[in-house]
């Protein structure tokens, strides 16, 4: 383990064969933990992060000096109570917060860039599985995550059916939709159209395609919100001006907000990682791995599932979450489902949505009581 820049890293010695055919070994997985593992080692929860998340789930993220991405849900006395549970989260491979990714160097000490192998959700969870061995955990109490985190949850329990007692996929899908692939492609095109991208070799030139990455983030950010949420928060309010300026500055608050979101994002995220991770999401089709029958993905598990969607989430709409419920019901699995009322869009799972947080807490705590 090295603790450089407050990043804990596990070096995985075991070779991992990737879906693309290549094999990686001696690669780093950067992780963080919260709370403590009890003596029975039965209180561990593996949290999977979404596209732009990282291992810093809660508390102050040492890299951004801001609150962790799931601070509303994870922490002492919160829905995922770190007084009670041992929370582990790692940066996905392909990412840019310490885990093996395109900004790392290849064996010839050259930065990978787009020579990094294309990775999949399956590769991500197979890599993260090594954390169980690292902590000597035979069975997790729960696995959870929203969005791409939810995809990893589904893939993990499919790959390792007896390795978690409970399973909580949130605002997710078992198969990335055409609309979502389209939005991801928009983001990738914005990055690769930036002249600083240089076929992914920008890092060595010490310039990066920040403009392209910011546009990618701005477009994606819109998809995380809802029309109603945007209208209520911004409406047509003007940004620090009395009237329209008849130019192309940010007249409207929503423009200014998006520009800000884009600019802070490029400070913490790598453009090539954005390409790799969105690609992994697009390739995700769990049913296809089982000849089109999603139920088959779950037929070997006795885990207790709890699936959560949000009314205003149009990126991973309720129906796509319900399809997972249906696949589980058709094999008699133990599955609960709730759609939470919220006008905060896909981002609802990251925000202070009391009905969501209490459902999550109640499900976990009641399931843990029965241990």
């Amino acid at each position: 383990m090295n603790t450089e820049k407050n990043i804990k890293t596990l070096i995985v010695k075991k070779p991992l064969k990737l879906d693309c055919g290549k094999t990686i070994k001696d690669f780093p997985i950067a992780y963080e933990t919260y709370g403590s593992l009890n003596s029975k080692k039965d209180n561990a929860i593996l949290v999977f992060h979404a596209l732009t998340g990282d291992q810093f789930v809660t508390g102050i993220n040492p890299s951004t000096n801001k609150e962790g991405w799931w601070s509303y849900a994870v922490g002492p006395d919160k829905a995922i109570d770190t007084n009670k549970y041992f929370v582990i989260c790692s940066n996905v491979i392909g990412g840019c917060m310490g885990s093996y990714g395109p900004s790392h160097k290849d064996p010839d000490q050259k930065i990978f860039g787009t020579n990094f192998p294309v990775i999949t959700i399956n590769d991500m969870v197979n890599a993260q599985y090594n954390l169980l061995d690292h902590f000597g955990i035979d069975k997790l109490f729960s696995i959870t995550g929203g969005s791409m985190g939810g995809m990893q949850v589904l893939q993990f329990i499919s790959n390792f059916p007896d390795k978690s007692k409970t399973v909580i996929p949130i605002a997710t899908t078992s198969s990335h939709s055409a609309q979502n692939i389209a939005f991801n492609e928009l983001g990738r095109q914005a990055i690769t159209a930036d002249s600083n991208w240089k076929d992914g070799n920008y890092t060595s030139n010490e310039t990066n395609p920040g403009k392209g990455l910011a546009v990618a983030r701005m477009a994606a950010h819109i998809t995380y919100l809802s029309k109603k949420g945007l209208q209520e928060k911004f409406g047509r309010k003007l940004q620090e001006r009395e009237d329209l300026k008849f130019g192309f500055d940010a007249d409207f608050q929503i423009e200014s907000y998006l520009r800000y979101q884009g600019s802070v994002f490029v400070d913490r995220f790598d453009a090539n990682s954005y390409l790799y991770i969105t690609r992994a999401m697009d390739y995700f089709d769990l049913a296809k791995q089982f000849n089109g029958n999603l139920s088959e993905a779950f037929k070997n598990t006795n885990a207790k599932f709890f699936i959560i969607s949000f009314t205003s989430d149009w990126l991973y709409p309720t129906q796509e979450n319900k399809d997972i419920v249906i696949a589980l019901n058709s094999i008699g699995a133990d599955v609960g489902f709730v759609e939470i009322e919220s006008d905060k869009g896909h981002d609802s799972f990251l925000l202070d949505v009391p009905d969501f947080l209490s459902a999550l807490k109640n499900f976990l705590d009641k399931s843990y009581e029965k241990n």
Binding site: N329, A359, K366
Partner: protein, 198 residues
């Protein structure tokens, strides 16, 4: 707990797999789980009730019986319970068929519109009956297809559905319904409880 729930619980053997359709706040589910070791699932349309079930540690799916029963395979539960809800569906016949497809047996309870107080209310007051089991006004009742014990009895017979047990409930009094006492039970019971199978 309601006497109705006690009667339902008595119809179910230990260790069975049961689906409670329209499980509300999960009171019956919890009782069955704790007292009969039932592997229990609920289906409930109200978000608030679903949250209450989750808070009780129950497995519940937010959904609508008219749309969401179809996802369950044939005979995947030993019993499917439908308590005082059949009359609230747009298509009660379809729901009944689905209950009997999903469950090896079904337990259906119906508020009896033939109950003497209901008849009395309509006959003498001339307004839509309001009773303990039918507490809502005509304009805000969820009930679309009210029926009597006699109606339901004839309905299931006409569909070749087997009635294993049928009880008339009047407050704490439980009595068996059969072909010969149907008229009387239809007058004096405010609730009918039927254990059926197709």
């Amino acid at each position: 707990m309601k006497n109705e729930f006690q009667v339902i619980a008595d119809l179910i053997e230990k260790d069975k797999k049961v689906l409670d359709v329209g499980c509300a706040d999960g009171t019956l589910m919890k009782f069955l789980k704790n007292n009969k070791n039932i592997n229990i699932r609920g289906l409930e349309i109200s978000k608030e009730r679903v949250q209450e079930c989750i808070a009780k540690g129950l497995t519940v799916i937010e959904g609508n019986a008219e749309k969401d029963l179809k996802q369950f395979p044939d005979k995947s539960f030993d019993y499917v319970i439908l308590s005082q809800t059949l009359q609230a569906f747009l298509n009660p016949e379809l729901v009944l068929d689905e209950l009997l497809r999903v469950g090896k047996k079904a337990i259906v309870t119906i508020p009896n519109f033939g109950y003497w107080k209901v008849r009395f209310h309509l006959l003498f007051k001339g307004t839509m009956p309001i009773t303990k089991t039918l507490p809502d006004e005509w304009y805000n009742t969820p009930n679309l297809h009210m029926c009597t014990i006699k109606d339901f009895f004839h309905f299931v017979k006409s569909k070749d559905i087997k009635i294993f047990k049928s009880y008339a409930l009047n407050n704490l009094n439980k009595s068996t319904i059969n072909e010969s006492n149907l008229g009387v039970k239809n007058l004096f019971a405010d609730l009918g409880i039927f254990l059926i199978e197709k």
